[in-house]
Subunit: 501 residues, 2 copies
């Protein structure tokens, strides 16, 4: 490496260390911290964020980027060195327009908002949460004011979570997706549902833990480099490929949910654990596109976890470890039931898309001034009834269910549904490359799929955008087709041929 590149690497390594500390403060807040620690924690997070931001946008960082770029000198533009510079430059040019004080205010409001949300959700009291949410939207609006080159405020925010993606494209994709999902859900509403009562018997948490541990072990979880903890809103985070932290929640009357949630978070974890050693302690060493990230969690939770071959593997484990008698076919049918319900993270694969579209539309209205925060609960409930046909009973089952807005993550939700679509495209391609995939899954042999994903997606970390990754792996842009075909095909197995025609 040249001197300039070494200097740049050193600066970026320090920034990665600061990120590491900030992420640990957040992980701890959601898993370990005693509740009254929240005040000083918010301050610590704000200080770390401000220091991170100031160090990143320092003119020196710009000079280091310029010099390192000059020294690239015809290096392959897809090499680690060249991509590091281009990715960091893009982020630098966006971040350097944001004052450090605003970055710090946003970090503090995120932490404070999270604590307020925990309380408001417990009390199912949206009005108590309104001032915190207003603060987060106000800060987001101040943020986008510094980024006038985007066509809309929403685009400026979305670009942080899905670099290069614009809302015009999301809206087009989501319209197509809605048009596919609505008739599917309506058709299923008129037929008999598979029985799933066995899923809701009481299973002690300790037995669930053993079942989940076994499933995660087969996916690649090991105690040398991974942890699993409990959190109100499950998430995954990592401090490099050798320290991956998953969280889940436990419900004595829903042991299957524990399995699927853990598989989901482990899918995120495998992405982080699969990033190349050469990218560690650089900004490319953490995945950037949330759509790609979600494609990994949904691949494992749904494409694998709710597949018939996996159910054949899982049923005996359920009998042995959870003590619940169930055969593979009824398990497969039960875990693929499509029924409108209130909670996004518990939604089936068909209604899930509508949960996301609803949030996407509402947060765009909020940030672009067509909806006031104080009117959000009403708007949520109205749209929910329109899309899912259910009357929301209270805020905890409606507008207060998700952590994202509380933590200031606005423009994030749409990446969940994009993740499903991307997963559909990657799954189609993986099936072509791994002709024995079904047999492998049924045999509990999950390594071939994991290694295929590592080779094609994980190892690159943040080197390539979501669009670039899809271009490289499937040879085209994000589209709705493969996901819808996958879903229709599976639901036809569950509900019988003809129902979805």
């Amino acid at each position: 490496m040249t001197t300039a590149q070494t200097q740049l690497r050193q600066r970026l390594a320090e920034l990665t260390d600061l990120r590491h500390a900030g992420q640990l403060l957040e992980w701890d807040q959601q898993t370990m911290m005693p509740p009254r620690g929240s005040g000083v924690r918010a301050e610590a997070l704000a200080t770390l964020e401000r220091m991170n931001h100031e160090l990143f946008i320092a003119p020196e960082t710009g000079r280091m980027l310029d010099e390192a770029q000059r020294e690239l000198n015809g290096t392959d533009p897809d090499s680690d060195e060249a991509r590091l510079i281009s990715v960091v430059r893009r982020r630098y040019e966006k971040a350097s327009r944001i004052p450090a004080s605003l970055a710090s205010d946003m970090a503090r409001a995120s932490s404070v908002g999270h604590e307020a949300w925990v309380k408001a959700r417990a009390a199912s009291d949206f009005q108590a949460f309104v001032p915190y949410l207003e603060r987060n939207f106000e800060l987001a609006r101040r943020y986008v004011e510094y980024l006038p080159e985007f066509d809309s405020p929403y685009d400026a925010l979305l670009d942080d979570y899905e670099p290069g993606m614009r809302s015009a494209e999301v809206t087009r994709i989501f319209t197509e997706l809605k048009n596919e999902l609505k008739p599917m859900i309506a058709a299923i509403a008129s037929v008999d549902q598979p029985d799933d009562t066995f899923m809701h018997g009481r299973v002690e948490i300790d037995r669930q833990r053993r079942l989940v541990a076994e499933v995660l072990r087969r996916m690649g979880f090991n105690n040398s480099s991974w942890r699993l903890d409990e959190a109100a809103h499950p998430f995954a985070t990592s401090f490099g490929r050798n320290d991956v932290r998953l969280t889940t929640r436990w419900d004595e009357h829903n042991f299957i949910s524990a399995v699927h949630t853990a598989m989901h978070e482990c899918g995120h974890g495998l992405y982080e654990a699969g990033i190349a050693e050469s990218l560690q302690r650089t900004p490319l060493g953490h995945a950037e596109s949330l759509g790609l990230h979600e494609s990994q969690s949904r691949t494992w939770e749904n494409f694998v976890g709710r597949s018939r071959p996996f159910c054949r593997m899982l049923a005996p484990l359920i009998r042995e470890l959870a003590g619940v008698e169930v055969e593979p076919d009824p398990l497969f049918a039960a875990v693929n039931r499509v029924t409108p319900s209130f909670i996004r993270v518990e939604a089936d694969e068909a209604t899930y898309g509508l949960h996301v579209v609803l949030r996407y539309e509402l947060e765009r209205d909020l940030i672009e001034g067509r909806l006031e925060v104080r009117d959000l609960e009403h708007a949520w409930n109205a749209k929910f009834e329109e899309y899912l046909g259910l009357e929301v009973p209270d805020a905890a089952h409606g507008v207060l269910q998700d952590v994202h807005w509380a933590g200031g993550s606005i423009g994030y939700f749409c990446t969940y549904a994009l993740g499903n679509l991307i997963a559909g495209q990657l799954w189609e391609r993986a099936g072509q490359d791994l002709p024995a995939l079904d047999e492998q899954i049924e045999g509990g042999e999950l390594a071939p799929l994991r290694e295929w994903l590592r080779e094609n997606v994980h190892r690159h970390g943040a080197k390539f955008s979501m669009a670039e990754t899809l271009q490289r792996v499937v040879g085209g842009p994000i589209v709705v087709g493969p996901f819808v075909s996958y879903l229709k095909s599976k639901l036809s197995e569950v509900y019988g041929p003809g129902v979805l025609d």
Copy 2:
């Protein structure tokens, strides 16, 4: 507050936030982190330490101190404002001589050394640990080279843990202490020991947890502001008064040790939890003198936890929660047995002092060039046999038992024995101020003692040095007498009158 004071406060608050992040990285490393996370964790710690150090020693901090000091203008020198400036100035003048790169190297070596120690201790292999320990001593020697105003290298290090204390005084005190302890231990060696077999029956960890939780609750632990976790080497840390973290370890065959260890760490925690609200998020908001800190842990572990009144309270709890049949008087006798043993943290109150004196003498020899690290195991074993009459069976029961040197804490050990002496002096004074103390403890009413300690010690945080605190509370310097009187009086109860005369 004046402008200069506000600016200084802001800078110090940010430094406290960085300390918060660094302490969390360390807490997590010892309680939660998967083992393979240690590499990047060491780097993150080093970066945080360097940033903290650079921000602290920046010339701007010096100017802020100067300006804030000018504006004090006759403020009471014992006020929060004046003490903040004098304490910070003392630290600033010492720290500003140390290059940030050295501070960062020491933080990294501390984290790396900790991981190496965990492995070496597990394998009981001192030679594997030698290079790491040599590195820590080499860095410590480089550190003291920047501080030539101290009479000896050891003094420069000791001053970080016990500001103002010098080894000449420690040596004088320790000589007196050794001369008191050796004949006590010898006298007891020739008489019958109380029976303690009941302490070593198997008690399930869950039952131990319930017993410990009840004892801690009575001391002031609550789930809103405290946590208790497991660590190989128990410690306490805090992120302000509302987030106090204790750690302990569990042994199925030593439930009493769990109680005493937890009380010890809770004593540390009560100190941090008792610091005044006005000092939070300032450098005075964490206790500084390790001798004072240890006096608090030893007060609760020994002066309270091994007292006859406390045993009267504890025996019924042991019967109820741990399911072990024991009466108060045999409990009192058993927990006060004096017998030479290998492990410092399990040592009784009499032999404990010799464990510490041994470490103090060895680390002085090491840092001052009279002993090589590679010869340390031999030197340890020889001195151990001389002081405690036992042949050390392996490194895990000898030189590798403690975490301190592995983490670069050199000059720290003596504060443990100083803590016992300070506790003796405070205890004598507390007994005068709280004439019903014995009855209160027996009745499980621990708040009066806790509030006395808070009023006299805790609330001041780092405002006063150990010597100043003793002067304020007992009216004199640190002395050996009260501790020895307390110990002789208690051991005469255990072993009968006449044995210690």
